[in-house]
């Protein structure tokens, strides 16, 4: 794990500390838990968490601030609360600071919904869009006949 003193040279501030990562993992698990029925990992899955923590850039300072605030509100570490208490606390904090939590939601969702297991479970091929692209049906152009039949609708300007 990265220590709190590590800096990443991408211009977006220090890396998340161990404590911030632990808190982020609890938040991610509360937001998107695993589903055994659907065969989907939770957002707190170790591979997803590693990807999340190493790729967050512009949102890092705001995310770190939010996570520190959550731990503080938990009286130390969110991770030390039991699941029910953690969930109740997160609900309360989210209602009070939707904009702050939107940053965490963005970071978590962007990392979660690119994991191979997740993509396959929701019916996507685990690949970037380019270069294969996707297929879109042409559609039925005769649907335009009634629009044509009604004639011009533009307003003459002279």
């Amino acid at each position: 794990m990265t220590s709190s003193t590590e800096t990443i040279n991408d211009g977006w501030g220090p890396a998340l500390s161990d404590g911030e990562r632990l808190c982020l993992r609890c938040v991610a698990g509360a937001m998107i838990p695993a589903s055994a029925v659907l065969g989907m990992p939770g957002a707190d899955d170790p591979a997803i968490m590693a990807d999340m923590a190493s790729s967050v850039k512009r949102d890092r300072p705001a995310l770190a601030r939010l996570l520190r605030g959550i731990d503080e509100a938990a009286g130390g570490r969110l991770a030390d609360l039991d699941a029910v208490a953690a969930s109740a606390l997160l609900d309360r904090l989210r209602a009070a600071d939707p904009a702050g939590f939107a940053v965490a939601e963005a970071v978590i969702a962007r990392a979660y919904y690119r994991d191979d297991r997740v993509l396959m479970a929701i019916g996507m091929e685990p690949r970037p869009p380019f270069p294969k692209g996707f297929r879109v049906d042409e559609g039925d152009w005769s649907l335009l006949d009634p629009v044509r039949d009604r004639g011009p609708i533009w307003r003459a300007s002279e």
């Binding site: 509360a30 937001m31 998107i32 838990p33 589903s35 659907l38 989907m40 790729s55 850039k57 512009r58 949102d59 969930s87 997160l90 609900d91 989210r94 939107a102 939601e105 963005a106 969702a109 962007r110 990392a111 979660y112 919904y113 690119r114 997740v118 993509l119 929701i122 019916g123 996507m124 685990p126 690949r127 970037p128 869009p129 380019f130 270069p131 294969k132 692209g133 996707f134 297929r135 879109v136 049906d137 042409e138 559609g139 039925d140 152009w141 649907l143 335009l144 009634p146 629009v147 044509r148 009604r150 004639g151 011009p152 609708i153 533009w154 307003r155 003459a156 300007s157």
Partner: protein, 535 residues
Amino acid sequence: MPVTNDPVDVLIIGAGASGAAVAWSLAETRMRIVCLEQGDWQQSSRYPSTGRDWEARQAEDYAIHPNRRAMPADYPVNDDDSPIKIANFNGVGGGTILYAGHFPRMHPSDFRVRSLDGVADDWPIDYATLEPYYALNDRMMGIAALEGDPAYPPKEAVMPPMPLGSTGEMLGRAMNELGWHWWPSDSAITSRDYEGRAACINLGHCGHGCAQGAKASTDVTYWQEAMRARVEVRTKCRVSRIETNDDGMATGAWYFDGDGREVFQPAEIVIMACNGIGTPRILLNSASERFPNGLGNSSGQVGRNLMFHPYALVRGRFDRPLDGYRGSRVFMWSMEFYETDPARDFLRGYCYQFTRGNAPATTALNGLGDGLLPWGEGHHAAFRRLFDHQAGMIAICEDLPEEINRVTLDPSLKDANGIPAPKITYRLSENSQKMLDHSVARGVDILTRAGAKDIITRSPLPYAGWHLMGTARMGNDPRTSVVNAWGRSHDVKNLFIVDGSVFVTSGGVNPTSTIQAIALHVADQIKTRIHDLFD
């Protein structure tokens, strides 16, 4: 110690939509033409759609807001005093690198707003003036379209339209039941291989750079041809101000090169193409003893009349699977509510641009924001209801010019070269608000008719300040306008403006087709009048 370059005939500032068009058109004169651009060329291999982390990357180096991107090419914009925030891209291609490529022309009535509706001003040019340039621009950009749209005078299509897909079919049926106009959009996307550009492969990433090169950003269209004709594009060069002489003529521009050196580029003709924010910023920053209120600003109109196109969004969930994230962002429009209707409580009108669904992370984030996707247990089931099952529209509302909506220079915020940042002051007018409300109500009607559930509306969209117009308006009267009918400054006879700043009114459609048609028109005027250009 500042450096002075060899003089050139024509200096274009800004390599975006309009700068590219004017450069290409003037290239045939064989004049020495240089374009200064603060950003750089883009490598399509770096576009988000080439990576597994594409949705995250869309919010990083290719984010649409300059304050979020904060790349070396970007200048900060103080938009705290505006409910609508600025979106742009700074680099060769300008905003077209990120634009969706929705490419409607303005309508004939748009140029006669005062005569027809008693508001704002008529343009000093009309649709007929621009018609040949619209057509030329359609060919140069490679526009996919279907001929015969009853919302427009007849116009030729360069290639077949983008596919309707299951979303277009479903929404088209609903529009037919309501008896309302819809048509495949004119799209700046190749539906077929065209002039060395490969056809669209439905990546759905048009808004963050097209790795396929199918979308007509000007780096892959006009600039390729202009450079073959020996126009020089000098990148990482940020202009700070235009210099003038005792005759009140522009002599060239000062800029900072990539190493931060200050350089003077002398020129016979200076053409501004920095967009509706960047151009007034540089003109205002060029204030001098001769031009104390900013260059070309004897009318006091530089920076005023900023227009955005307020946007509304309507999105619904359907029981059947749709195209989702697949396919270009643009495919179908409606002009049903475009023209003024005296029965309504607002003047002018809007168009709809219909929308498909989104990629998974964006679907989730929208769902969370819309209150349709919970945290915890219910997340997965709710996600599956939304993903690939959403569609809707955005309304693009005509914004009327008002002097109080403006760009000024921020007294303290500066870019990396110390040039004052633009400050935006903007408020939504009552007319715009009523128009937005109407567009939301009719949008809900359409989606309801199509069978949607969980319909979500947003108005105005806060992060949608991507159409930048009106801040150096065109007109015949030097007391009330900045440039004449062919883009020449009333005050400085060798200074031209070709970007969205010159719009007199905004129309209710995306502006780039018109911006480029105007740039081609101005270029033709320069060529035609070359012997008495400064009279």
